[in-house]
């Protein structure tokens, strides 16, 4: 089997943006993503998940580099100004290129 290079976009943000982001992914025809519950600290203070408006999520999303970069920029513009948000891109290798 062969491995193919893709980009992974990781998004850490407030849990209450989940529905919005999923809508965005679907609008942009992204075919898959993974979400884990997270807490953390950043410029917007501590997020400890102790109650509703104080939780983080971490979303991982594999796509072509172009798609991942475009998505990251769009999310940054839409939510970066006011919401707790950190994103990063990394290089990964996957087995089924057609899946992403």
């Amino acid at each position: 089997m062969q491995f193919h290079s893709k980009s992974m976009l990781t998004i850490v943000t407030e849990a209450l943006l989940e529905n919005d982001l999923v809508e965005l992914f679907e609008a942009r025809k992204i075919r898959g993503w993974t979400i884990v519950a997270a807490r953390g600290k950043g410029a917007h203070g501590e997020k400890r998940g102790s109650f509703d408006a104080n939780e983080n999520i971490q979303i991982e999303l594999i796509a072509s580099t172009a798609t991942a970069e475009a998505l990251a920029e769009e999310i940054q513009l839409e939510y970066g100004q006011h919401y707790a948000l950190v994103q990063w891109l990394s290089e990964v290798r996957v087995l089924r290129a057609d899946k992403f």
């Binding site: 203070g45 998940g49 102790s50 109650f51 509703d52 408006a53 100004q81 006011h82 919401y83």
Partner: protein, 314 residues
Amino acid sequence: MQMDPVVLFFLLGLLAGLAKSDLKLPSALYDTLSVFLLLAIGIKGGLELAKQPFLQVLPQALLVLAMGFVIPLLVYPVLRLKFSQVDAASMSAHYGSVSVVTYAVGVAYLSRLGVSHESQTTLFLVLLEMPALIVGVILARQGANQAGKGSGHGWGKLLHEVLLGKSIVLLMGGLLIGLLAGPEGIKPLDRLYLDLFKPVLTLFLLEMGLVVAGKFGALRQQGWFILLAGIGLPLCLSWIGIGVGHLLGLSVGGVTLLALLAASASYIAAPAAMRMAVPQANPALSLGAALGITFPFNLLIGVPLYYQFAHWVA
């Protein structure tokens, strides 16, 4: 007078949190307890409402609804003295809306004294959740150019968010279940929703103590005005509740609870709604005041105080 044990649990959590104990309750427990409290309060309200003639409750409901719209309008100009438009608007929404747990503690307080209260107060609780949130968003957005990006959700999405938020769905759902099932139908459920209400409240308040202790640190950076607001606002707002309660001809118990509703600040529905609708507002500010100052103030001092107030007026 001995302290209500319910309040002692809050103090235990508060002290443990301030002393940086590693005591933590799982967040799934917190979520479960709030689902339970909201359902239980709703059901109890529904059972009581079933006994009331609808036409008698309607005008009362409208007046309470009006109070919900007016309170944030009164609070806003005061907060504008110190805060930006969006922050003042967001905080007005928090103080105009209500805290379900504060209400539950008030009910427990009255029941311990053996003081009865009108059954429609639960309905008032439900009605007061939302109007202030709408007013808060309008206040935040007035005059502002809302065409830009990142300035929060549109009205449709927002109303959906609020109306179908956890608090209102469970309170209203419980209310309807209570209404439809009636005392006979609910009886087999009493062991949970009635008998365990107060003991479960103790666990919830233990957790609230821990959460409030965590808020104190962030508050210190905000200066004196926030402390002043966090205590002054409930004190003043309680009198609006007392006035409206008096107008409605409520009993001392009912007036106390309406005062408490007016004085309490939302820390579940409002923060979530404001974060979606007015993301520019600093959530640490309004949540810090509502949860870090007003919540403990109402719990420890407000509840007996407003009861005293209600007595004077009666």
